[in-house]
């Protein structure tokens, strides 16, 4: 995103809209720090500018991935779907992506507020890959890996900054302590934050094994979260 200096009237109305704080006043007009801008487009879509001075450009590779990972209205070139991740367990009663005895795990870099560069995603993805986790095949971050066995993210995008990017993977439940401990160590090497989540199936007695496991491990989890109530059909083979 850019601001047309011929149109800008220096009213400063746009400045607070930027989630990355990338808009500031230059000599006489507002300007956008292109290294920090993640191309989310909220400055434009919000209608914050009274003189329509924002100019949205189509960017070539690798900058094009900024909008794909930051603007929720722009689809990913790899999956054709807008948004940061996948359907994960939201449609699981139909897809059967998460099977009994397995856990679905996601690490969303840059959320909230800070944004993230792919070099930080790379650090954690490579650490998790060493544990033999299975990265979600249709996730847009997985599509940027040179090799899903190593988790290595392609070199030419490592400095690209996005509002957030999600690693999604599944692993057998018994591997959870190892995965969580590895993540605790890996995040010490990154220059951003990440929001972390873990999904499990609900047992017939309404208990959730992952919740008990997190409590036993002393891992914090919020009192609120997402519940798939199981209304979708057809159910996957073996689903309830």
């Amino acid at each position: 995103m850019k601001i047309d200096p011929e149109l800008c009237i220096a009213c400063e109305a746009c400045i607070p809209y930027c989630p990355m704080g990338a808009i500031s006043m230059g000599d006489d007009v507002a300007a956008i720090n292109q290294d920090e801008c993640v191309e989310c487009g909220i400055c434009l879509r919000s209608g914050s500018c009274p003189v329509d001075a924002f100019v949205e450009e189509k960017h070539p590779w690798p900058r094009q991935i900024r909008a794909e990972f930051s603007n929720p209205t722009v689809p990913h070139h790899s999956t054709g779907i807008a948004g940061r991740g996948t359907e994960e367990v939201k449609t699981n009663e139909v897809t059967g992506r998460l099977k009994p005895g397995w856990l679905a795990f996601a690490v969303e870099f840059g959320r909230p507020v800070t944004g993230a560069r792919f070099r930080d995603v790379d650090t954690v993805a490579q650490a998790l890959a060493k544990l033999g986790v299975t990265f979600e095949p249709i996730n847009p971050v997985t599509a940027l890996m040179e090799d899903t066995k190593t988790g290595k993210i392609r070199e030419d995008i490592l400095n690209e900054k996005v509002l957030s990017a999600i690693i999604e993977c599944v692993f057998p439940r018994e591997k959870a302590p190892e995965v969580l401990n590895t993540l605790q160590e890996a995040v010490k090497k990154i220059d951003t934050v990440c929001s972390v989540d873990l999904a499990d199936l609900v047992e017939p007695d309404e208990s959730v094994p992952a919740e008990k496991m997190l409590d036993e491990m002393g891992i914090f989890h919020r009192i609120n979260g997402k519940t798939n109530v199981g209304f979708g059909r057809p159910k996957y083979k073996g689903g309830n």
Binding site: S46, P72, N92, T192, V193, V202, E211, I223, G232
Partner: protein, 208 residues
Amino acid sequence: MTHTLHRSGTEESLGGDFVFLYMPAFGINNIDSGPKLRQFLEIAQRHNPVSFGDGFHGNVFAKGRENILNNIKKDGSVVHAVFDNEEDAAGMLKDIKEADLGLSLVVSGIFDRVKGICQKNGIHRHAATYSLGIWGKTEKLPPDEVLDVITMCGHGMVSAGRVNFMADEVRAGRKSAEDAAKELASQCDCGIFNPSRAAKLLTALAKK
């Protein structure tokens, strides 16, 4: 798409925050799902939603009710409705169960309360997703009271700067907390930002 997860706040505040997400499984039951998604949003209108929207099109504050209802893609989208109390959420869940439209419903909220309204309606839950909070360089984050507002837009479209600006407007008496909250809600493309809860949070922020 974990956009309805990771909402921070106190138990009292989160008790007024129920987000319903309704969607097909793409590649399996998405063909001709548009009318079912519209029906979901129409049912939501009976239960006092404080926000609603279509993840592929926009939210009610930016686009308007009819515009949202009339532009749902024929072969699938992701639609949302937000409720600020358990009674409305329970009524919505009951009606969606009875409508039996066959798409996937995810309810975000305090687990015990969502479990409670499921049990009242004879629903066995399929799966639960837990937020393990924020890891890494948390020293980069704004104060908790600002985070509680901005985490209601999971795609990060509501900035900390905008929340602080609105708190200033409320403090100065230039805007009501309700109007300020609706302006913030209009930036959340999917319509999952809860302006009712945000108004209370902005009121508290403005007193600081």
